[in-house]
Assembly symmetry: C2
Homo-oligomer: 355 residues x 2
């Protein structure tokens, strides 16, 4: 962090602080849209319901039961959920759903105590053990090797791909933000975007074993842990994919490795381009930004769409919101651009009129 993450500041046309993009800024932006409408036009033209849930970053442990217990209150003609953003050059983006997430901690324990590493010629090593299992999960190109993993994954439609071909998505901009030299899957923007959206992932979010401080320690550790994030695309269901992972572990002979799925509740879900709330969001973009938005069939990140689309039956989208693709969610120097904040608020007000 270049600034104190918990002492938010405005500088360089941006607002800096932990959670400003993901997702406190979106809450304020919506309230300001209502306030602006009230000041200029009076009463908003549609009924509005706000659902404020503050536990998304810890897997929304209470949201599922809340939604199931309050379906009637939550019914609506359409919903917007935080999660969209703007592209680097300012194009607003709407998303018609989200990926889901299956987050699994994997633990190899090969002894009850660490040993001196001089014994490693005969003593098992949990890091090696876990690594050998991990390499059965995914190849170097990101393809997941668990049998049947892609079976249920929703495939692209021709109309979805037309939108993506027109996208201003810029891999070079992302590379610049992150200091990345090469992406997986080529250099072509459309190919990378298609991959970003339609590819399930298997990511090492964390790995720890043994001695990790500066310098050397000659230890053969007793334990190794990995935190693996599987992103699922719509139609892939968390429990079913977890069962496939467990079968794979067993069939590969790694039953000594413990799988600890995190209590995440976010399933993948997406609605059709034909839905009324989608049309309102597209028209709202022309009203607010003077141009058509990017339209993505779903987001690369997880969100609460499944609860609205599938549990309550309210078609939901994510509008452009307040952030952009350099907002550094979950990373140092999180920030939003003030122009995006204003644009997102105008878009929200425009949707009031277009629904």
């Amino acid at each position: 962090w270049k600034r104190d993450p918990f002492d938010p500041t405005m500088a360089d046309g941006k607002f800096w602080g932990r959670g400003c993009g993901d997702t406190k800024g979106n809450l304020i932006m919506q309230l300001l849209a209502v306030q602006a409408w009230q000041r200029v036009e009076g009463r908003p033209p549609i009924n509005l319901k706000f659902v404020v849930e503050g536990e998304e970053e810890v897997g929304s442990p209470h949201f599922a039961s809340f939604v199931h217990a309050n379906k009637e209150i939550l019914k609506a003609d359409g919903a917007t959920i935080e999660g969209g953003d703007h592209l680097h050059e300012g194009t607003p983006k709407i998303e018609l759903g989200c990926k889901g997430i299956l987050y699994v901690e994997m633990v190899s324990r090969t002894a009850s105590v660490d040993q001196h590493s001089s014994y490693a010629a005969i003593a098992p090593n949990p890091g090696w053990r876990l690594i050998h299992f991990l390499t059965t999960l995914r190849d170097a190109n990101g393809r997941i090797k668990i049998p049947g993993w892609y079976e249920d994954a929703r495939r692209p439609t021709a109309r979805e791909l037309r939108y993506l071909r027109a996208s201003a998505f810029s891999a070079d901009a992302l590379k610049g933000f992150w200091g990345v030299k090469h992406f997986i899957g080529g250099e072509n923007n459309f190919e990378l975007l298609r991959r970003l959206i339609y590819s399930p992932t298997c990511t090492i979010c964390g790995f720890v074993s043994g001695y990790i401080e500066e310098g050397t320690k000659t230890v053969n550790p007793a334990v190794a842990k990995a935190k693996i994030d599987f992103r699922l695309v719509p139609n892939m269901k968390k429990e079913k994919q977890l069962a496939k992972l467990r079968d794979h572990l067993k069939s590969k002979g790694f039953e000594d490795i413990e799988l600890r799925p995190a209590p995440e509740n976010l399933e993948a879900a997406a609605i059709s381009l034909a839905a009324r709330v989608v049309k309102a969001a597209i028209k709202g973009s022309v009203d607010a930004y003077g141009r058509e938005p990017e339209v993505w069939p779903w987001s690369a990140g997880a969100s609460a769409h499944g609860f609205f689309n599938e549990v309550v039956g309210v078609p939901s989208i994510s509008g452009p919101g307040v952030s952009y693709d350099g907002s550094n969610y979950h990373a140092p120097n999180e920030n939003i651009r003030l122009t995006d904040f204003i644009g997102g608020s105008k878009h929200m007000a425009a949707m009031f009129a277009r629904m």
Copy 2:
């Protein structure tokens, strides 16, 4: 630790504390052997020189220059170096040398900042990258796959193996100490001991990437690091093996991974069973313990033998010292048995007479 590691205590016939086995206890034991000889017999029958070096655990950064600058002072008919121990049932062990160590930190950096893991479909992941490199180094059975790695490794002699066949080495005892179910390389004690002594190793002493605390964080990290300990057997030289590792990294296309060899200075080295100091140590064992010792051609751990054997030209061994194979060097609950401490001290005094 069941006790404060820095508040040493005696309990259950053992002495508990950090460094009591490796290796403060050995220093005290030798001084007590001299004191005992002086009290009972007067002046020791041979000239004695003590070399006390306190930086072995950080790779002895100053010892090489000390030895090279003081060869004349260090000349002797034989030397003993800490590092031996007793087997679980009390058999004293002498070792005629040691393995060497090449400790290398390996770093994969795929970005300048961490990213949200939803981008992992296209963003490279340093954990995966490092894991894919690591699996080119060693197979699941511990065999090192770097071309030519074993080329220089000293092979067993028939006489060495005869000693090892007679060894009381017990894999089950080690399994009990460490809570290990299966060793690599079978269940037969002799086969495991041969492997322990003659096999070079490639061990993951540490691995860290991304989020390693409790719970979940959906991050695609920028960096992954592994600390790899290669144990070398006599005749394998550190710099030559490192060059083979570098060639391998290059030929496998992993030049983006940085290799940081630690400034360790301990080469593998071993003397012959025919040396005078070996004979004195074997006879000294009969004097002190009433039985022949185990004789290992070298230790599984690293030590300073190379400096004495090869730089100064003093044949050196490691006597049984004060510890045993459950002493938990470099691990919690380090301890020595008082009977081993007394036995080691008697053996040292017996060697004064037998040299």
